[in-house]
Amino acid sequence: MSGSVSADELAGLGAGAARARRSRFIDRGFRSMTLLLGLALIGLLVYMLIDLTAGAWRTFEQFGLHFFVGTTWNPVRGREEFGALPFIFGTAVTSFLAVIIAVPVGVGLALFLNQVRGALANPLAVFIDILAAIPSIVYGLWGLFVLRPFFDSTVEPFLASTIGKVPIVGALFSGKTQGPDMFTAGVILAIMILPIITAVSREVIAVVPRDLREAALALGATRWESVRIAVLPYARNGIVGATMLGLGRALGETIAVAMVIGNVPKIGWSLLAPAATIPSWIASSFREASSVGLHRSALLALAVTLVIWSFLLALVSRVLVRKTEEQIGEPVGDEPVSVARLGAGG
């Protein structure tokens, strides 16, 4: 190359610079666009919260705290009264029942999955993923036509004639065993939240240092002792976190519960009585409420109550899993995104 630069080359350089400028412009535009969409996601959540709260405002204004403790729900025009306690009660009882059943089984599965590696662990994990993938309407259908008749004819009479006869505790299983009830709903919910509890517990247990367990085993501990001494104390916070997450899922579950619980806004001791949950009630009465202002507002107030609840639970669960991470000094959850983690019932 000679020292001088030809006109052609200069033009080429100019064009190159222009292209670089244009390219940088596109680059910045592309980045801004993706950023904008990310911000739009935040906007969506904020808008959703504002919209729901604004819609619910009339109810909160008119009934105040009474909305949360009132037991009458009457949408008849002119005599409107909206108290959400029966739904709060139904939601709490069924979700709590679900957690009581699902947590021991889920933690057991998680321990099992961490112990057996290889041949059995993988298919089992796939099975649990499948359990998570089953749509809630399918659980509902099965609950309505298979589980409920089975419970009515066999399980519930048995519980009523055994535990039902015990003083105090017996009140939980008293009354007639036929028909829709909270117990069936709780069991369906337990099946539905089993995968998430298993998945999260498994991740938490997986990061407990193995050498601790091995040391316990080397010192002559039995398997159970090694788990009790060297696994559960470390995983405890994480397991509680998993429980909260499961509870959050159970609270928001709609269709499967709506199909087996009977949708009766009543508060009572017996698990064998029908009830209603917040989501099941919204799903069963939104139609009449579409054109009626105050009734609609009351349903939105129920939705807001649900949102607050699920946010609090998600928050607590996050904090607890974090705590486990700090304790162990390793991040929890390097699992790929799976069905169990992403599915939240409908």
Binding site: R31, I42, M48, G108, D129, P135, L141, L300, A314, A344
Partner: protein
């Protein structure tokens, strides 16, 4: 346990507890497997009776001969509602993921991540109630479009989060190589990073679609359902989950069978998608590892 022979054998209460522990682990496994097995078998056994040509090609028949009818309007409706949702949510989710994985550092990115986490843990009926007020009540009618929007609220964070994780798996060297060759950032992302993550992105999309297919509550509050074929996205529209819900609540035996048929088809579709997604993601991880 050959080593144990040289040690003091474990006896008494300690041994009993250990055995109880092992047995209860197996019991947990048995419970989970049995539940899954029973549900799958029932859906298969009862649903298969409903499958016929009419089931896939006809609208519901009259009350007199409900067994001769089908649920073609639900298939079309599900296609429309999930299609609308996918059309909107997939691009939005992908580009959000690109921001999080490729540009996002610092507060904005972690805020977006937190928000998608929050949206993921929001009960789906809340998304339904939200679209119910802003679209259905505001415009005065239930519609496939509203149903699609409710599903967008659920799918967007799923696609964003799952895709972000996949994009992160793409080796840094690929990006550096492409940038070193003079490709601008946006081209590097669209021509190099995204294709490299291809199968993984497909996985994310499949998971999101599988989830959307089975959702009932959000589309109940927005699309409502319909006994007839409807192709106008601005009118009430049926969907397979809505049909199952409606048919199951009637006292008519033949309609229950149809509901089981719908459940079988739905379950097969959802399982194919989620198992397919799992296979793809395992393969992708092996390829990138």
């Amino acid at each position: 346990m050959t080593m144990a022979s040289t040690l003091e054998p474990v006896r008494g209460a300690r041994r009993a507890k250990d055995i109880a522990y092992r047995v209860s682990l197996w019991l947990c496994v048995a419970i989970a497997m049995a539940t899954l097995g029973v549900i799958a078998l029932y859906v298969l056994a009862r649903g298969i009776n409903a499958l016929s040509v009419n089931f896939f090609t006809k609208e519901p028949a009259s009350q007199l001969h409900p067994e001769q009818g089908g649920i073609v309007q639900s298939f079309i409706g599900t296609g429309m509602i999930v299609g609308i949702a996918a059309l909107i949510a997939i691009p939005l989710g992908l580009l959000t993921a690109v921001y999080l994985a490729e540009y996002g550092k610092g507060r904005t990115a972690s805020a977006i991540r937190l928000v998608s986490q929050v949206l993921l843990s929001t009960p789906s009926i809340v998304a339904g109630a939200f679209i119910w007020t802003v679209v259905v009540v505001a415009f005065g009618n239930f519609s496939a479009f509203a149903g699609g929007l409710a599903l967008v609220v659920l799918m967007w964070p799923i696609v964003a989060r799952a895709t972000e994780e996949v994009l992160r798996l793409v080796p840094q060297e690929l990006r550096e190589g492409s940038l070193a060759l003079g490709l601008p950032r946006w081209k590097t992302i669209l021509r190099v990073v995204v294709p490299a993550a291809g199968a993984g992105i497909l996985t994310a999309v499949m998971l999101a679609v599988a989830r959307a297919l089975g959702e009932t509550a959000p589309i109940l509050l927005t699309a409502l359902g319909n006994d007839y074929i409807n192709t106008d996205p601005l009118k009430p529209t049926d969907a397979v989950p809505l049909r199952i819900y409606a048919d199951a609540r009637t006292p008519i035996e033949a309609l229950h069978t149809i509901a089981w048929g719908g459940a079988l088809v739905l379950l097969l579709a959802v399982l194919l998608l989620s198992i397919g997604a799992r296979v793809l993601s395992v393969r992708q991880q092996k390829r990138l590892a």
